[in-house]
Amino acid sequence: MIESELLHIVIPILLVVCALLVLIVNDLIIATIALGALSLLLSLEFFILQAPDVAIAEAGIGAAITTAIFIIAIKATKRM
Amino acid sequence: MNIALYIFIGIGCLFNLIGVIGLHRFPDFYTRLHAATKCTTFGSIFLIIAVMIQSIAIWTTEGISSPESVLSIHSFIAMIALVLTNATGAHAIARAGHRSGVKPVRAVVDDIDGAKIND
């Protein structure tokens, strides 16, 4: 099961990279895209952690609905 | 059977690799979209077919009501969804990119420039 452990090393690092991207950018759209990527990778990590229930919920909520409402909120307010 | 499996996996990985390399090799976003959409979709189709081949092989050995059938059929559904959404998504991204004002780099011809598009 050593390969499976390798995935556990790589994906968390990618999560941190996405979070850092959210931190450093000023444009909220880019931050939303990074947040979407974070959510997506988190969903994959849940999948690898043998939690398909949580993965579906995170995919449906984190990736689709949350991104959608962030985009709508940015549309209703302003971008920077 | 195993050899076919390896060939399919090899093709799938290769095209996915080409797709992500294309993301970096190409100069502007339209051409990157070419690489990303086509190659990753093609590679993904091959990988999913590989999964299906394996599960169908198990299915045929275990009998008709084996749960492996779920794996192959669901993979097939995922594949159809993937192909349709990728194509449409690529179109949506291209249109959005064009409307947001990104011009193609080194373009020989640009018919949209100045054309009136009915919305």
Partner: protein, 171 residues
Amino acid sequence: MAFLVTSITVYIFYLLMTTSSGNLLLWSKEELIIGGVLAIVVGALTKNILVKKDLRMLSPRRIFLFLIYLIFVWFPALAVANIDVAYRVITGKINPGIVKIQPKLPNDLSLMILANSITLTPGTLSVEVDEKTNALYVHWINVDKAALKKMPRDPKYVCGKFPEWARRIAG
């Protein structure tokens, strides 16, 4: 009619999802019943979305043609496209441009089939659609000089025989 078509379509989808649940062929009788109920619900909800007074896709000839098209025309084109893109990724030779084509397609479904085929096949990517005239604007990675002669460009250069197929399938 629209309701029936929608219900049966989603019922088939449900049956695909629930294979190997029992002994009646592949399904158990509870799954069949519940699937029927759900199909009726979804059919009632979405009968105006899936089928808009347009039942031409019910004809078996069209479905058969569609399958033929997918396997023998579209998939080889996809393979060629990918090898082409792979070649361009490695060598970096590109000659891009956006061209307008007027495939003269009658309805939305055929346009969708054509546009998605274009997106996934050799060096082309549909960028814009004209809502009234159904003209497509296509980003072409390797513009052929021969195609640039007249103003709605000849679809032959851009996407081969796809418009005919699309018209035959969904026209």
